[in-house]
């Protein structure tokens, strides 16, 4: 037990170090690409908490991602950079509160109904933004500049450089992973995993399962919001697509492709999708087709996702 755990720690530390070195060794193009991977990695991890740990297959998770992105836009001054220390927590809070409000209804349902209800809430959020001139309608809106970290009016840290912004995103990913890992190992985490397997049994043991599902939904929404805030400022632009069902579906594909119920699998899934999109789109204009085939193939041959490759290879060798 123990050595494996330490092995995992070492692998994590090595991965983090390697990622931290990306801006030092790679072109700006790759820095931007990796920023995208990490932002969507946070988003996919937040969905994994729902899908892989709580058993809540949301198809509307982008609503919280997009809500925080739009909150970042609304909170940003017209012609000056926003203060990250104020707007990041506020945007995350907006996403969490929206998740709490919609989740209060959604987690009362299960299975197919849950999928339908989350999809419906997601589309409502999409059209609310899409049809609002104040929020920029279907065109979206530009953000004036990346945020800064400011104390008493003086900016002490500026994220205009893609390399610096990348490091901010990496720090957020590492922090999110650390917090979510602690959460799934906490008493709360054990309860939601029990709910995923058998909710009725958990009730019979004395757990008020509704509250735990709702709390999980809100925590997932908060981290989706963190990712949405970072996505908005990476592009320095928000548009309604951030809240659409395609975005929710993409996150679900990342989670499944990477390996459900593992957290780090979600980040690997994000890397796979972003890199394949990039790779296939250079090969052909029909890259969506190639990506689709790849996803179908991997779901068939890699049922446990990318994180399942090691076990799969071990089996193949002994066969």
């Amino acid at each position: 037990m123990k050595p494996r755990l330490d092995g995992r720690r070492a692998a994590l530390a090595a991965a983090l170090l390697a990622l931290a070195l990306v801006p030092a060794v790679a072109d700006e193009f790759y820095v931007v690409l990796f920023t995208k991977i990490l932002v969507l990695g946070i988003f996919a991890m937040s969905l994994d908490l729902l899908v892989g740990y709580t058993g809540l297959p949301s198809l509307g998770h982008a609503a919280y991602f997009g809500a925080a992105a739009y909150a970042a836009m609304v909170l940003a001054p017209e012609s000056a950079p926003a203060n990250l220390l104020l707007t990041l927590p506020a945007s995350v809070l907006v996403a969490a509160l929206l998740a709490l409000a919609t989740g209060a209804l959604a987690v009362r349902t299960a299975g197919m109904y849950f999928i339908m209800v989350t999809l419906a809430f997601g589309q409502m959020a999409y059209f609310a933004v899409h049809d609002s001139p104040y929020l920029g309608g279907s065109d979206g809106k530009l953000l004036f500049a990346r945020p800064v970290v400011a104390f008493g009016g003086a900016a002490i840290l500026d994220f205009a450089e893609p390399q610096v912004y990348y490091l901010l995103v990496l720090a957020c990913l590492a922090g999110s992973y650390g917090i979510l890992r602690a959460v799934v190992q906490s008493p709360f985490g054990r309860v939601i995993q029990g709910i995923r397997v058998n909710e009725a049994r958990m009730q019979a043991l004395g757990y008020a399962t509704y509250r735990y599902k709702l709390a999980s939904f809100a925590i997932g929404g908060a981290f989706a919001g963190l990712a949405g805030y970072l996505a908005a400022y990476q592009a320095e632009y928000v548009n309604p697509k951030l809240l659409g069902w395609q975005e929710s579906g993409l996150a679900l594909v990342m989670v499944i492709l990477g390996g459900v119920g593992t957290l780090h699998g979600a980040v690997l899934g994000s890397a796979a999708i972003v890199l394949l999109q990039e790779f296939f789109s250079e090969l052909t204009s029909h890259w969506m087709l190639l990506l689709g085939l790849f996803i179908v193939g991997s779901v068939i041959w890699l049922p446990h996702g990318i994180v399942g490759i090691r076990a799969w290879a071990r089996r193949a060798r002994t066969r």
Binding site: P187, F188, G206, R211
Partner: protein
């Protein structure tokens, strides 16, 4: 009967459309006794347990737990009042280890599990309760095995252990011996008898030899009604019971 009843039902009734599955049942269950509920298939035994545990709401009637009305309360609230429940179909968490199954039971005794940061296995009291439950259900040697590799009998033991980990005062057992071989059933019966002194046990069971050898009180249910309640000896010679159930349906033990 001696002692205050721990559970008392009054006119407890549950209808499913035109069918009255439990029909005006008024019974008392006393601490320290094994009270068996027997009856042919479809008699309403499981439905009766579901009404006690909160899995179903009664159509009419009341359920009192130590004088407190609990009819219609949610399952988790009733569980927290000390009512443990096992199911006719084995109901454990197959992918979790035996220890983790029991730990989930023990953790349910925390005032709340809305605890997000400290690791679950750092709660020493919870761990100790889980280990105790594992040894009570005699599965300590299987501690780190996943529940889905256990034999059927062991899984039923684990279900009992998970329930005991919540430290219930009332045990509602729905056919705990079903599908077991003689040795497994013997072990389970021993376990149940050992729990009788400090629990209130409601035992639904089809195995007549087991019921007549362990129960202190037997209620016979037929068609949703509690036909008769008495000691095993009294039930065995009751003409009404013989006619409605023992004689007609399955093999009654020879008197």
């Amino acid at each position: 009967m001696t002692g205050e009843p721990v559970i008392r039902t009054d006119g407890l009734t549950r209808r499913f459309g035109a069918l009255t599955a439990v029909d005006a049942v008024s019974l008392e269950f006393t601490a320290g006794r094994i009270h068996a509920v027997i009856g042919p298939n479809g008699a309403g035994k499981t439905t009766f347990l579901n009404l006690l545990s909160g899995n179903l709401r009664p159509t009419t009637g009341s359920v009192r737990l130590r004088g407190r009305e609990i009819a219609g309360a949610p399952v988790h609230a009733i569980a927290r009042l000390g009512v443990g429940r096992s199911y006719q179909r084995t109901n454990v968490f197959p992918e979790f280890t035996c220890f983790e199954n029991c730990r989930l039971g023990a953790q349910a005794r925390l005032s709340s599990s809305m605890r997000f940061f400290k690791p679950a296995d750092a709660y020493a009291g919870v761990n100790a309760d889980a280990e105790r439950a594992l040894s009570l259900c005699r599965l300590s040697h299987r501690r780190d095995d996943a529940a889905d590799v256990l034999s059927h009998g062991e899984r039923r033991q684990l279900e009992l252990g998970m329930m005991l980990a919540t430290s219930p005062s009332v045990l509602l057992l729905d056919e705990p011996l079903a599908g077991m071989g003689a040795a497994e059933a013997g072990l389970m019966l021993d376990l149940i008898k050992g729990l009788a002194s400090d629990h209130t046990i409601v035992l639904v069971e089809h195995d007549m030899d087991a019921v007549f050898s362990t129960a202190d009180v037997i209620t016979v249910m037929v068609g949703g009604r509690a036909l008769e309640t008495g000691t095993p000896a009294a039930i065995q010679v009751s003409p009404a019971v013989r006619e409605a159930y023992l004689g007609a349906a399955k093999g009654a033990p020879a008197p």
